[in-house]
């Protein structure tokens, strides 16, 4: 009786989780994978094969956009790490207990508004007739209004701003678990600041660094509005190509192919990153 009740509660607890995983994650992926293998012959008549993938590889525009997206996502991830680490370190180790929550909330503020509003915020600030340009002219720092939108640097900056929180959160929680005595032991045994940072803080924070990098990289590679709106005419981003295939060109087969390719390629980049840093998913994301 007790065992049956246990089984029942386990089933009840697991059902929403399994439904979520099954219906919202696995099933759509299978569907996308299935559509990507379809080749349209005419209405409701299809062949199955890898032609869509061959088409993808043979068209340099798509290939290059994918590489460009991956490369810029790596740059964004690296910058987010450089910006996020000191912030996380400050929150976890230097700030007083009382101000920690407030600092954390401040980092969260960008997430209170939608992507779209955030992007328009940047546009209002950075456009040729925008706040920054006008202020600089008024202060006499520049003679002519200057256009700060529609280039890669702005896209990278906007993306870093959007994703840096997802770097800070895992880093902070990892660093919070670090005993200050480890740092003192590091100095006491003769380590310089650099040695202590390189050999004690970074290795200790590695699980946080890796999970933060995976999250930010995936978020960046999958982002849509920020690169499209801030990049303007120079913003080819792979998600935009997926949107174009599905919506503008009604080509679900190619769109699905692109989607699968993006998933596989970004997973590959993550795998490569894990290999190069000698980490594994088990020791980082699923750390006990």
């Amino acid at each position: 009786m007790g065992r049956d009740a246990g089984k029942l509660s386990l089933t009840l607890l697991m059902t929403p989780f399994l439904l979520w995983i099954g219906l919202l994650i696995i099933l759509p992926q299978i569907g996308i994978g299935y559509v990507s293998l379809r080749e349209k012959v005419s209405y409701d008549e299809f062949h199955y094969g890898l032609k869509n993938y061959v088409d993808f590889i043979s068209e340099p525009v798509y290939r290059n956009t994918l590489f460009r997206t991956a490369w810029m996502s790596i740059v964004v991830t690296a910058l987010a790490l450089v910006v996020g680490f000191p912030v996380a370190y400050y929150i976890a180790k230097i700030a007083r207990q009382k101000s920690r929550a407030a600092l954390f909330l401040m980092c969260l503020i960008p997430l209170w508004v939608s992507d779209l509003v955030r992007a328009y915020g940047w546009i209002v600030l950075l456009r040729e007739t925008g706040v920054v340009s006008r202020t600089l002219v008024a202060l006499g720092i520049i003679g002519q209004p200057v256009e700060m939108l529609y280039n890669d640097a702005t896209v990278v900056m906007g993306l870093v701003y959007t994703v840096v929180l997802f770097m800070i959160v895992p880093l902070t929680s990892t660093l919070q678990g670090m005993d200050d005595a480890l740092l003192e032991a590091g100095y006491n045994l003769g380590g310089s600041r650099l040695t202590v940072f390189r050999r004690i803080i970074v290795p200790y924070a590695m699980p946080g660094i890796v999970s933060g990098c995976i999250i930010t990289f995936m978020l960046t590679a999958g982002s849509y509005l920020t690169p499209v709106l801030l990049g303007g005419k120079n913003s080819s981003w792979f998600t935009e190509q997926i949107y174009n295939q599905f919506i503008t060109r009604y080509n679900w087969e190619a769109g699905a192919t692109f989607g699968v390719t993006l998933l596989v390629f970004t997973s590959f980049v993550v795998w490569l990153g894990l290999k190069l840093t000698g980490q594994s998913l088990a020791t980082t994301v699923a750390k006990d």
Binding site: Y187, G190, P203
Partner: protein
């Protein structure tokens, strides 16, 4: 020359003075302990010696050289932390090699040095083990090895036994003493546990409220405490509060607060009428003997069995509880029996009463 000298070292945090003009000199190769209750300033003192805090005044010298201007990583003082602070992301060998690499030792020599120090702490061949695979006692030894491989002038130990269970703690006390002999390095050991300090140390400083109350060998502290605080903190003692009624040469007669009177040695310059406390060790008391001395009448309250450390708890007529050593565990007495407790005034000390 002393390995470590502190000269009127002071540390103030705002208005609060944590360490107040503390001076000490530790001869080479000795085991020195600082014993005091938590909050007495002993950890602050140790952190100043290691370089993690800067003194507000005074000087700290290692082998005769002032180290105040040196950052922590340049001082040849190594530290075993309370929770050991072994690096969890490195294995045992890397933990020990860390200091050597920081010092810039030749890469080729490091493995041999690591192996040698592991052998000396009795754990040969564990270089590849992860920290998590070691027992508490083994970790302790690795933490010491990690410092000793650097041949420090002084090794600081910050209550490293606190986290161990009792049995292991008893064992490690002896092992630490042996390690210290073996390395012939000066150990400065901080603890709030008087038994650790008494068992291991050559000399002990008793610290209270930022000051040293007394520095001496364990025996001196035990047999000849200079203050009520030391008498009460080092070893077990019965403490009877009263007022001096009469001074007779080196002895005083004290009227206890609850009534009754005892005789004791006059241990400081308290005068007639001053409030004092009389400290008597349990083993200085006897039950039922007719030997001369001062006496307290009472009834047996309970028997506290603890092997060779067994005690009899006696409730005096006036209400005070007195612990009497019962090494023989004769078992003749039962709770409720009327007894008379006696002790020689020479083994009791009257100190001015401590302010609360």
């Amino acid at each position: 020359m002393y390995d470590l000298s502190c000269d009127r070292v002071t540390k103030a945090f705002g208005k609060f003075v944590a360490v107040d003009e503390v001076s000490l000199d530790i001869p080479s190769g000795s085991f020195f302990s600082i014993l005091g209750p938590s909050g007495c300033g002993k950890t602050t003192l140790m952190r100043m010696i290691a370089g993690f805090e800067t003194p507000s005044g005074g000087d700290i010298r290692i082998k005769g050289e002032s180290v105040l201007s040196l950052p922590p990583n340049k001082r040849n003082v190594k530290m075993v932390f309370q929770h050991l602070a072994l690096f969890p992301m490195m294995n045992v060998g890397e933990n020990i090699a860390y200091g050597l690499r920081c010092r810039g030792d030749a890469k080729a020599e490091i493995p041999a040095k690591v192996a040698r120090v592991l052998e000396r702490v009795g754990l040969p061949g564990v270089e590849e083990k992860q920290i998590g695979q070691l027992s508490g006692g083994q970790r302790q030894r690795i933490a010491i090895a990690r410092c000793m491989v650097l041949e420090p002038d002084v090794l600081l130990l910050d209550e490293p036994l606190g986290a161990l269970d009792l049995k292991l703690r008893e064992h490690m006390k002896i092992e630490l003493k042996q390690l210290q002999h073996q390395f012939e390095t000066t150990f400065l050991y901080i603890t709030h546990d008087q038994s650790e300090a008494l068992v291991m140390s050559d000399r002990v400083a008793v610290m209270n409220r930022g000051r040293f109350e007394q520095i001496g060998t364990p025996r001196e502290l035990y047999d000849d405490p200079v203050s009520g605080f030391v008498a009460g903190f080092v070893g077990d003692a019965n403490c009877l509060a009263g007022k001096i009624a009469e001074i007779r040469g080196g002895e005083v007669r004290v009227e206890l607060d609850g009534g009754g009177a005892v005789e004791a040695r006059r241990a400081d310059d308290s005068a007639v009428g001053d409030a004092v406390e009389v400290f008597v060790r349990p083993e200085a008391m006897r039950i039922g003997e007719t030997a001369e001395g001062t006496r307290i009448a009472g009834t047996v309250d309970s028997l506290l069995f603890n092997g060779a450390n067994s005690r009899i708890l006696v409730k005096a007529e006036r209400g005070q509880l007195v612990e009497v050593a019962d090494p023989g565990q004769s078992g003749e007495l039962t709770p409720g029996a009327s007894v008379s407790v006696g002790f020689s005034p020479a083994r009791a000390r009257a100190f001015a009463r401590r302010t609360a």
